[in-house]
Amino acid sequence: MNASPRQTAPTAPAPILRLVRVRQWLAWVSCACLIATASVADGLDGRFEVRSADLELKEGVYHLNVRIDLPVGDAVRQGLEEGVPLSLEVDLAINRVRQFLPNAGVAELTQRYHLQYNTVSARYVLHNDNSGEQESLPTVDAALERLSQVRGLPALDQSLLSAGRRYEANVRAKLDYGAVPLSVRVLMFWVNEWHRESDWYTWVLQP
């Protein structure tokens, strides 16, 4: 890339070339600053996805089971032990599939969990924001394991789904690490270690 400018200006760089070099230098400095900023912040790191999800019909009610891969590394575990909270939000959307029209929404559900270390009791408290229930767990691994799966969550009454029709179930998870204010997140928009969203996990539901 640098060969052709050297051929055209072997002795002294032309002004345009100097300008290009200055721009390259500025771009490198900017990238270095961003990388440095990202590296100093210890936060969410790794894959964040809904590994599996299904709806299980029990006694006329569909119960949601979800398994999530959480992007928590050692830094997040350390942060949790030091009291930084972790919030998980699971969104469920069930749509009726239509052939020539956009899918019609049938039901939507959002379940929020909040995990935080209690330093007085030395236990991890997992709080279900929807039901108000909370669970106390002794270790961070146990707490994360518990947080990474949703089991038997009543999601949908069977009567809402028509037999013979085709439905599409979608699950997505959102994870917040710490209580980072929106202002900070907006200003440091290029840092994604405080808030992550998974892709939609979709499967077909045929009652």
Binding site: V40, V84, V120, A122, Y177, L187, M188
Partner: protein, 742 residues
């Protein structure tokens, strides 16, 4: 004033005002929001939007200003360099403090945030945490022992007796709830202080796992409704049967202790949050600070442009005004910027241009007057028959009139602006004149008057030349003026007049005694010839004959003089000149056949009005002159030619008599028409003088010169009409004659 003009005049001011207001509003929002994170989150997008808009607007305005300044600088617009320097100075003055403040603000920010996380703070928090745990651990252990004690007391009881004992044990302790679970975590018995509004808390997997291993379990848990509870579990079967019953107890934590624990937990959580936000907060504040500083910098630089523009504008006006004055636009009036020193300068400039404009008008008038004078002088000079040439000190021709060109035979008017001696000309008159004048121009005294004689093919020319030095302000000659006149004709006229007087006196004084002398001689001859001897008679006869013959000769001479000096008494008739010439020439052809007499007569020549006899005399004299010059020459030839010509715009009859004889002697060419000027041995020397006199009496003109191939040539121009006669007879026009020479 139209809307567009208003927008042009106040548009930028309004935009800047709105920008400043928004910026101040954003700062106010920022300062208010800094106290409240909720407000900050809500207003942040607006603050960001305002600042980004302001930044972009300022950046655009600044880019426009910079581009404009660069363009002016490249075009060398008036004041652009001064403006650039002023902007640079103002910008430096504004930017440097901002940069310094920015640097120290960054330091302060970093250290301020770091101070939140000093070692003492975190250590205190840890100590508080340890203290809380220690305070609660005592109770936890107590409740665990109590639970184990109750479990032991219940171990021996069958399932149906558990309820009463369990309830009694709960009442005896401070427990909130006692529950005995059987296999498959089935509730066998339970006792609660709120039996109606709650169900037994379920056993956790962790709890059951530990109890099934035969170990007691205790934990401090948070309550869903707030506060803390101590949850303990102990197996009932003391022998450690894992499939046995389990006592689960819930104990309360005192409210005060619970609140304190909550406070510790909140502080711990907040501190953890702060620790997590430490670096992002730093980055965020640095970003905001940088943003604000950048905004301030751009505003400061734009302000520098604005201030420099206001400061430089009068100077630019002055420069533009000065250039306009330099171009000659003296009506330039600059707007008065203020009443300070610049205002005084502008006022002085306006006064100066007013005075210059007035002076220009006066100069213009003077110039017009001078031009008019110069035009008049040029007309006078052009009409003057006297040659006038003015020269610079380095001999460059400043002015020259037509007469000078005509007299010297060169186009001096074309030489204006060139050196006088650079005229490349083979004109004999000019070269002689230049040689005569150059010697005198080198002398100190430049005021002189001298007669200069010049020689040309047509004869001698006598110029009366006067030189005068042109004065200037410092006394050094600014040049000279040469005034010269061709006085050849005047001298000739003087000579003619003198000869006329001589002729009249001769005719009067000499002619009268001649007749008595002749009569006396004849009488002496008649009286004494018969009475004398032959020898004496022969002597007398010879003497009287000589006297009579000489007296006749003298009479002829006196008659010739008389003819030359006679008064012009002519009989003008209209006749055919060609016919007259033919008659005269035929007579000579008959007399002398050895000379070839040729006639080249113009067929279109009209009749002329003249004295036929005198014209005949002219022709006789000229032909006789030529015949005498050709005497004894082989191949002698005389040619008489007539033409219809123009002289000074008037039709004339031209008679040219040429021969192939020896021609006029060069030194006599100028005086051939003077009486007694002749190169021949015989003759009175009055022939050509009489010819010239007759020609001039007819208002004509005569010239004599030599042909290039040899021989003499005499040319006579006779006016065809009578109108020219009275004028030309007495005063021949010198200028016209001179032009003819050219």
């Amino acid at each position: 004033m139209g809307t567009a003009a208003l927008v042009r005049k106040y548009g930028s001011t309004v935009i800047i005002g709105i920008g400043i207001a928004l910026w101040l509003g954003a700062l106010f929002l920022l300062s208010s929001a800094a106290q409240n994170s909720g407000l900050f989150n809500r207003w942040l997008p607006w603050i960001l939007l305002i600042n980004i808009l302001g930044l972009l607007t300022l950046f655009g305005l600044l880019a426009g200003k910079l581009f404009g300044l660069a363009r002016e600088y490249r075009r060398h617009a008036p004041g652009s360099r001064l403006k650039a320097r002023t902007v640079a100075t103002f910008s430096a003055l504004a930017v440097l403090p901002i940069v310094v403040v920015y640097y120290f603000a960054l330091q302060f920010l970093n250290r301020g945030i770091d101070s939140w996380f000093e070692r003492e703070v975190s250590q205190s928090l840890k100590d508080t945490q340890e203290l809380s745990r220690a305070a609660l651990d005592v109770r936890v252990r107590e409740f665990l022992q109590n639970t184990e004690s109750v479990a032991r007391s219940l171990s021996a009881l069958p399932d149906f007796d558990l309820v009463g004992t369990l309830d009694r044990a709960r009442r005896e302790s401070t427990a909130l709830e006692f529950t005995v679970l059987g296999s498959q975590t089935r509730i066998l018995a339970t006792s609660s202080d709120r039996p109606m509004d709650s169900v037994p808390l379920p056993a956790t997997d962790e709890m059951m796992l530990q109890v099934r291993r035969g170990r007691s379990y205790v934990s401090l848990d948070t309550n869903a409704v707030g506060g803390y509870v101590i949850r303990a579990a102990a197996p009932l079967n003391a022998n450690g049967n894992p499939g046995g019953r389990v006592l689960i107890a819930i104990y309360p934590v005192p409210e005060q202790l619970s609140e304190l624990a909550d406070t510790v937990q909140r502080s711990y959580a907040q501190y953890a949050n702060l620790v997590q936000l430490r670096q992002p907060l730093k980055s965020t504040f640095v970003l905001i600070l940088t943003f604000v500083v950048l905004l301030s910098l751009l505003a400061a630089v734009y302000g520098a442009f604005f201030a420099a523009g206001r400061l430089i504008k009068p100077v630019q006006d002055l420069i533009a005004g000065t250039r306009a004055v330099a171009r000659g636009d003296y009506d330039t009036q600059l707007p008065l910027p203020s009443r300070d020193e610049l205002g005084f300068l502008v006022t002085s400039f306006n006064d100066m241009t007013k005075r210059l404009a007035r002076a220009r008008v006066e100069t213009h008038r003077s110039q017009q007057a001078v031009e008019a004078e110069r035009a008049s002088l040029a007309v006078i000079l052009a009409r003057l028959s006297t040659g006038v040439v003015s020269l610079e000190p380095d001999l460059v021709v400043r002015t020259a009139n037509q007469a000078a060109s005509a007299i010297l035979g060169v186009d001096l008017e074309a030489a204006i602006g060139k050196r006088f001696d650079e005229q490349v000309s083979d004109g004999t008159l000019y070269v002689q004149f230049l040689n005569a004048v150059k010697m005198r121009l080198g002398a100190e005294n430049l005021d002189w008057r001298e007669q200069i004689e010049l020689q040309s093919d047509s004869g001698k020319h006598v110029l009366m030349c006067a030189c005068t030095a042109l004065p200037n302000d410092i006394g050094v000659p600014a040049g000279v003026v040469l005034v010269f006149d061709d006085i050849t004709t005047l001298l000739q006229a003087q000579r003619d007049a003198a000869w006329g007087e001589v002729a009249r006196r001769l005719a009067h004084e000499i002619k009268n005694p001649l007749t008595p002398i002749q009569l006396s001689a004849e009488r002496m001859r008649r009286r004494f010839l018969g009475s004398m001897n032959a020898q004496d008679a022969q002597i007398l006869e010879r003497a009287t004959h000589t006297i009579v013959a000489q007296v006749d000769a003298m009479k002829q001479m006196v008659n010739a003089f008389s003819e030359y000096a006679r008064a012009p008494d002519m009989q003008f008739t209209r006749f055919d000149l060609n016919q007259l010439i033919t008659e005269v020439v035929d007579l000579y052809r008959a007399q002398d056949s050895s000379v070839d007499l040729k006639l080249l007569l113009a067929a279109d020549l009209p009749d002329i009005s003249a004295d036929r006899m005198r014209i005949r005399q002219i022709l006789n004299n000229l032909v006789t002159n030529s015949l005498e010059a050709l005497e004894g020459r082989a191949g002698a030839s005389i040619e008489v030619e007539t033409q219809l010509a123009e002289d000074a715009g008037k039709p004339v009859a031209s008679i040219v008599v040429t021969d192939n004889g020896p021609g006029f002697q060069r030194d006599l060419i100028g005086t051939v028409f003077d009486p007694y000027v002749t190169s021949k041995l015989k003759g009175t020397g009055l022939g050509l003088a009489i010819v010239k006199k007759i020609v001039e009496e007819h208002g004509g003109r005569i010239e004599a010169d030599n042909r290039r191939m040899g021989g003499a040539r005499v040319r006579i121009l006779l006016p065809l009409g009578e109108s020219g006669r009275p004028f030309s007879f007495r005063e021949p026009r010198k200028g016209e004659n001179r032009r003819e020479r050219v």
